[in-house]
Point group: C2
Chain length 113, copies 2
DNA sequence: CCGAATCCTAACGGATACTG
DNA sequence: CAGTATCCGTTAGGATTCGG
């Protein structure tokens, strides 16, 4: 449950219960299929609970379980770490890519050392 | 860098510097290719550093950078959470699977409700 | 010993159409 | 509205081979 959709679902449900279509609208770019798959996985892991109201039109609410809430605390520290260090990471990327760019050319054109 | 190989590499390197083949032996089931790919990603993200000793046979050491060490602290809380709650999760799996098993049959054999 | 490159298969994930 | 089922392109990742 460490994929990106799960993280977003957990973050959103921490604030309040949400319906399927609310989640779909709130999570930009998620397909209906992936949201369904994600919600099933989280439900199976006991992170969220699913409540079906036998009304028409159908209504299904999702909410974090106590287990899910405790997981959210842990996840937040990961998110915080990422936010705090993303500049360092970007700098590391730039440094790494430049290093590679300086070393590659020798191999593709070794004509006359 | 949240995949399972990366997590294991970070956990191992937290104790001490390791060579490529040491990591390969220590991480059960990792292919040479995936270990290489994983190490490159971690290096690019600035999580580990790579030191090549120009000797024969070649020797390459990997170690955690300060950034990597700080990440490890965060990861540990995730690992700890997983260990502490894996029984709850297993129970949730069993409960979910049983629920599904009780509901599915109606659909495949609805003969004579 | 360390790693790059190639090949190939399985899983992931989007788009679409259909159901209750 | 809230799914399920199907098709299908993309990618992850193992096995293998070659190079420094």
């Amino acid at each position: 449950m460490a994929d990106k959709w799960s993280l977003l679902v957990i973050a959103l449900l921490d604030r309040h219960t949400m319906r399927f279509s609310e989640l779909r609208r709130a999570i930009d770019g998620v397909s209906q299929r992936m949201l369904t798959v994600t919600l099933r996985h989280l439900e199976r892991d006991g992170i969220i609970s699913r409540t079906v109201y036998p009304v028409v039109p159908p209504r299904v609410d999702y909410e974090l379980t106590p287990l899910g809430m405790s997981l959210h605390q842990v996840i937040k520290s990961l998110v915080t770490w990422t936010e705090e260090h993303q500049q360092e990471i970007a700098a590391a990327h730039a440094a790494y890519d430049e290093r590679v760019a300086r070393e590659e050319p020798e191999l593709v054109s070794p004509r006359r050392g």
